[in-house]
Amino acid sequence: MKLTVDQDVCCGAGQCVLLAPEVFDQREQDGIVVLLDETPADALHEVVREAAAVCPAGAISVEEGR
């Protein structure tokens, strides 16, 4: 799995940080998403998919099978 985030689209709702704090964080100055791990371990794949699904802005893209 390969992750990308779009910081221009992100609205800082923090849903991803709530679900997967190992993978996502928020910038100190404006709360916009920071990707901590673009190839998360298998055990995190399900919660990362959910984070992409619940991201209100659609700022998280998941490329499977990488």
Partner: protein, 405 residues
């Protein structure tokens, strides 16, 4: 107006008598017929009403839907007056890039970790207010004595608004969120709140403190923000920061008292943070205190669910019935505090999704995790049918909740 328009269902609809926690039955009927329908508003306009959960999420993420209320033909749930000169609008009424520019100035204050760090302070406020309840007279109105003070004190501390002014801002907020007042009354309340926040920003410019309004005042001085934009953001955060959460506390307590089996789960031997967290999401999903939908206008044609939404059409996304969509939530009309309901649309969806949701969740977790454990025999002091309901609010809830123990 054509005859066809006259036969369209009028929106918003009213909840059924004896069903204070359920969306109006007509909404469920529309949802069963399909995810999108046409309805009729007070002015005869006929926007789309989206009732399907999946369709709501798809559309709310679509940049072809505008939130800019200044656009000609933008639908309104009630009559409104043009915004007073010099006041401008808050960013929830704007589209990107203006919306993003302003929202990003305050997003960090509501980031997950920043809000989580407020948990001890919120717990202290909740505990002090429960101490006050236990030492005070019974029965008591839980709204005045607890549900309103909790979020009001929290948002005052965060913004730097003197809590001593709570009577003023609570009274004006109540006018703002009431559908049954006149457009003139609502505009006057908005102006009073705007002037109040404008004065506070001026004060913070001269004597900055460690609070959010002082941060906004510094941005005004630095030329990043106009005074009016700062004051509008202050109004938005102050009103949204207390009224919504207060209603979730009081209505949530009413619902739990009516579902004692669910309430017992929260009162278990030990506090289970996971259950409390899921209870908050489930009560948000179930109760939908924002019950007149999200209002948008189509910028360019959108095809969805076999319909074409044309540029200029109004669209209302009814989160209350969306959160009861059986395709998304099995047995949707059952309150189940253990349900995995975190994908609900009670906070909306898309780039306008509630900015303060981490703070709202924190406050509700502390309240639901504390109140019923500290007052285990809390109960209504009136018949359930006699609890006055905010049918006429943009924000639903109870006007009073007389309780005893």
């Amino acid at each position: 107006m054509t005859i066809a328009q006259e036969t369209l269902p009028a929106y918003p609809m009213r909840k059924a008598p004896g069903c204070p926690f359920d969306p109006p039955p007509e909404l469920g009927e529309l949802q069963r017929q399909g995810p999108i329908a046409k309805v009729r508003l007070w002015d005869g306009s006929t926007p789309w009403l989206v009732t399907g959960f999946a369709e709501q999420r798809t559309l709310l993420r679509d940049a072809r839907l505008s939130s800019d209320v200044t656009r000609p033909g933008f639908p309104t749930i009630v009559p409104v007056l043009p915004t007073a000169a010099g006041q401008g609008l808050s960013f929830i009424r704007m589209d990107d890039p203006d919306h993003a520019r302003l929202r990003r100035m305050v997003t960090a204050n509501f980031a997950i970790k920043r809000v989580e760090a407020m948990r001890p302070a919120v717990q202290r406020i909740v505990d002090e207010l429960i101490d006050g309840l236990l030492a005070g007279p019974r029965p008591v109105d839980l709204v005045e004595a607890f549900a309103l003070p909790v979020p009001s004190r929290v948002i005052c501390d965060l913004l730097g608004v003197p809590y001593a002014d709570h009577g003023f801002f609570q009274d004006n907020s109540k006018v703002l969120i009431r559908r049954s007042v006149t457009a003139e009354e609502r505009a006057a309340a908005r102006t009073r709140l705007f002037d109040y926040l404008d004065g506070l920003i001026e004060e913070k410019t001269k004597r900055p403190a460690d609070d959010l309004l002082s941060e906004l005042a510094a941005r005004v001085t630095a030329g990043e923000l106009t005074r009016a934009e700062a004051a509008q953001m202050g109004v938005l955060m102050l009103v949204a920061g207390h009224e919504t959460t207060a209603n979730m506390i009081a209505l949530g307590t009413f619902a739990l008292l009516e579902y004692p089996g669910e309430l017992a789960r929260l009162r278990g031997d030990e506090t289970d943070p996971d259950l409390v967290a899921s209870a908050v999401n489930e009560l948000l999903r179930y109760l939908n205190i924002t019950h007149t939908g999200r209002v948008r206008q189509v910028l360019a044609d959108i095809e969805i669910a076999g319909e074409v939404l044309r540029a200029g059409d109004g669209v209302i996304l009814a989160n209350d019935i969306g959160n009861r969509d059986p395709a998304a939530f099995p047995d949707p009309d059952r309150l189940d505090l253990g349900r995995e309901a975190r994908n609900h649309v009670a906070f909306g969806f898309g780039v306008h999704q509630c900015l303060g949701q981490p703070l709202a969740r924190l406050e509700l977790q502390v309240v639901y995790g504390t109140l019923y454990r500290r007052i285990p025999d809390l109960r209504l002091a009136v018949e359930p049918a006699d609890v006055p309901l905010k049918h006429d609010g943009f924000v639903y809830g109870v006007y009073e909740l007389p309780v005893t123990w």
